[in-house]
Symmetry: D2
Subunit: 337 residues, 4 copies
Amino acid sequence: MIVVMKKGASAEVVQDMVRRVEGMGLKAHVIQGTERTVIAAVGEKRNGERETLESYEDVEKVVPILAPYKIASREVKPDPTVVEIGSFKAGLGHIGVIAGPCSVESEDQIMSVAADVKKAGATALRGGAFKPRTSPYSFQGLKEEGLQLLAAAREATGLAVVTEVMTPGQVELVANYADVLQVGARNMQNYNLLQAVGETLKPVLLKRGPSATMEEFLLAAEYILDQGNKHVMLCERGVRTFETHTRFTLPLASVPYLQEKTHLPVIVDPSHGTGKASLVPPMCTAAVAAGCDGLMIEVHPNPHQAVSDGAQSLTPEAFQHTMQQCRKVAEVLGYTM
Amino acid sequence: MIVVMKKGASAEVVQDMVRRVEGMGLKAHVIQGTERTVIAAVGEKRNGERETLESYEDVEKVVPILAPYKIASREVKPDPTVVEIGSFKAGLGHIGVIAGPCSVESEDQIMSVAADVKKAGATALRGGAFKPRTSPYSFQGLKEEGLQLLAAAREATGLAVVTEVMTPGQVELVANYADVLQVGARNMQNYNLLQAVGETLKPVLLKRGPSATMEEFLLAAEYILDQGNKHVMLCERGVRTFETHTRFTLPLASVPYLQEKTHLPVIVDPSHGTGKASLVPPMCTAAVAAGCDGLMIEVHPNPHQAVSDGAQSLTPEAFQHTMQQCRKVAEVLGYTM
Amino acid sequence: MIVVMKKGASAEVVQDMVRRVEGMGLKAHVIQGTERTVIAAVGEKRNGERETLESYEDVEKVVPILAPYKIASREVKPDPTVVEIGSFKAGLGHIGVIAGPCSVESEDQIMSVAADVKKAGATALRGGAFKPRTSPYSFQGLKEEGLQLLAAAREATGLAVVTEVMTPGQVELVANYADVLQVGARNMQNYNLLQAVGETLKPVLLKRGPSATMEEFLLAAEYILDQGNKHVMLCERGVRTFETHTRFTLPLASVPYLQEKTHLPVIVDPSHGTGKASLVPPMCTAAVAAGCDGLMIEVHPNPHQAVSDGAQSLTPEAFQHTMQQCRKVAEVLGYTM
Amino acid sequence: MIVVMKKGASAEVVQDMVRRVEGMGLKAHVIQGTERTVIAAVGEKRNGERETLESYEDVEKVVPILAPYKIASREVKPDPTVVEIGSFKAGLGHIGVIAGPCSVESEDQIMSVAADVKKAGATALRGGAFKPRTSPYSFQGLKEEGLQLLAAAREATGLAVVTEVMTPGQVELVANYADVLQVGARNMQNYNLLQAVGETLKPVLLKRGPSATMEEFLLAAEYILDQGNKHVMLCERGVRTFETHTRFTLPLASVPYLQEKTHLPVIVDPSHGTGKASLVPPMCTAAVAAGCDGLMIEVHPNPHQAVSDGAQSLTPEAFQHTMQQCRKVAEVLGYTM
């Protein structure tokens, strides 16, 4: 941690600060610059020293040196984490493909789309049974019935089931049916939920909050990992910016960036990331070319009849074509898909 | 709802879309423009018609005419809602002042700060017992003990108690001690929590999520109101932007904007909105001058020893001076504080 | 244009507005909704009617139906524009590659890098002679001497020369040496400059401003096109968001989005878009997979000695490898590179 | 400057970096942390050392300690700069008020509005003669005729004239008529223009670019100051964020923040900052309460007939009332207006 003193801080003021730094159990090195004095505080424990030091008036700013996350960090675990469930595999050059409707709507719908995405090459099935909706007047999901339908679709196709859990009280129920517990973007900093899914030891798909920084995203993963659950997949699904021509802005550079910083697999969701079906296929091939460890794609047998997210859902035909293009790109770049 | 067709949409395509609009129970008016055809769909029920219509390829875009929220809307209830708890009053020209530490840390701390803020003119006490923290390694709150200390401080000072609840399972416990249930910014779209606090009928302070639009913010309030709880206060606490010199960017224009759109009181939190103690006092007077219905301010007897948010906490002395300035502004503008 | 009246607008108020709409030479259709009245105004001329109508108190909002740009629009010219200069070709499945240093620094530097990028497959050379720098204390470019060196490098390699022009007064000079006039991101809305480059009829590379919307970007192109210059290339180079781990946020979905809306070629600059050399290669392959019409990449013989942008420059070796990967992706997707 | 080495950097690698730092004429202090090594480089000259050091692969990041601007900095000149032109005075507790139409449209319009704003208490007149417009199809200003009308209005009222200059070639002409040269938000990083207005020694009003950081804003001012022109006023006019209910997001905390960092007066423009006439008055009083050194407000005798920005213009009556409220707030807080 580097404590930058305000200009003109007197020798006593600096000495006081050194004592405070040492009082935290850190070693203090004073460096006298030409315009300012800085104190390098060695031994940072990542537990609030920064905020405390920043509260002093004579301190201009405090610059942390260490990343605030540990278990999620590639420095701590250099080997990539691979999440594998049946034929689904994400990490180390394997690209897992999670496809399916936004919401589970009926037996017909989910069985038909499961068969379609399986045929096209998906290895996991997505579908919401508990749906977080911006408006209280929108469809809120089939709940347990939806979970049962997902399990039936798994039975029929062998696809791993990925579905969202919204509150700690639902974790047990959802974990009974799902292979992967999804934590939605709106809940990325719902810490009680993160701890609850962390306790299950089921693989977790953690979606990035629309205004989460990389540090906040990795710290949310850290909450889960800290409970002993090692199977966390990070999902980039777009961030909120001034752009309005897409639903969110999909920053694909977060794929290689995260892969430098963490060992966890990085999945990309171009459906939410763009919000427009016509933009999804090129963003799928782009995500593969960026080196992602997986894709999450909304597919609906009839997007016009979808109860949610119809505008961003691919038809089974469009999905099949997208998969073909993605596989071509994966192949020439040496990835398995 | 206005359905804008793509350029060159044929008469049949338009007719098909008219049939779909009518199939939703809406009345369709076709308007032939010089370059495009649009269909005005009258009778919008705010339940997903827009998304469905946008999923058609021949549709350029769908423009909603009605706001998606209803109960929160000033059109539905033109009279301002006033939230009143003992001497705390927010709305209709009354400015409620909620002050206190980020976290409840000890009996001494909370009793001392409660006495100080009461003396300076606050009408409610804030203090976190359950703390949502970005890092799992940060202090997570005193939990029930913190609630008990808050209740003791209320006993001693008469201040209303405002404290955060993080998950539906905590609502009953927190409601036993608190006068106002706070839903934090990270949980603004935690719909299970919104419904749970909505069921209690206790006043709720709903903080704006750092990337929530005004519509999303009002729809989150709608989730609470929809459960029959009429006492919702909206709290602007800053949004996430590219700016880094402040913790968040505090957009005070949301005060008059929200007051045009909703009858609910609008509280401003300049502590989180700026993240820097030196910027808090001018943002407090500015919020009052912008017409806010309340302020929420972090005050700590010794900011350097705060376990959280020390850098943005005012000392009791600074708070007292800030209150004096705010009262001057309130008075000349005709507000009660 | 759809004029949405405020709730409760009386019949007279609506009639007044109809008269105003008609006074603008537009046809007015009144649609009586269940909650609001809207007036569809047909015949929009894109010259300020919207702002005028929005200034009335009884108007809730005005929704434009037509895009504000015309010549840039694919509706007006469905065929893609191809920009071709010698072996450089961008558009219609051809991917032009512009590579070179941020700044021209010396004859040795530019000749060496030109030879290197040519060998690796670039078809144009970039290099700044006039440099817009955030700080007045940074290197501001070699100016005319830099232009002469670029021309010498073209002589030696046959690469087309792309270089920035910063002010109308420089246009003639720069046009004497360059094949493509670059308008930088900071000047995207420098309208005098846009008109001046529009008058030259030289191809223009227009970089997106870091907070420009798609409409503003296309309107900036429209300023150039409106002068009769048909050879405009759009360059996505990242936008400013709350993300700080990259220099800018590179939204690749703007590639297919722009290609839907405009006939102009879309170039991607992953060097500025990320600001980090390690992230540039995956963003290059991703841009190709997203269907871009060209790449613009910073390459420096020795990034550690670059006078500007060293941290985001590729070495010639890294560039060569990146080109190989890009060509593989281009080939399987059917593009020429 | 603090150079943070990557984890596991060997002693040789660190030694190499020390040599490079010393090769730049800086003093290097090596600090061995528990997890990382950092090198404090003392003697920073603010001319690109940071970028160079960041280009090394073994470097995790480089943290600058000094602000990149100098002449604009309050550390260099602790006394506030006061800009005074006739009765207009901004700085040191004096609030200058610049009011008038977006564009000069006619003699009648500008003479009438000048008289009105003068009567209400404005001390300077704004009005665009050269107009930067997003669309090439919008009104582009009366040009020199507009300047002549502004000068006539000054003659009649004694108000100082503030008007925009768009390109270096116009500076001489505009300076002949104007008292204050305005550099618009779109031109904040048009460095040739900044240098040209810097050479005139006329007071300059520099508007913040909609995505400019505070550092970029102050560095833009530095370009002007560096030419010897000491009379620069900074104008906060809102930034671009995800918010769409206002035209821009107006971050009033930049007022006290800038006043901590720089001696230059800070003006607030709530008209562009909100884009809606109804939000302008509360944002004016809020800006005064935040401690601003001036206001810039669009006023039009008939907003519905304004050729530009009608929706955000106040009527003369609304302006007069706003001024009364602002003066009340200024008075109780001890400012002169």
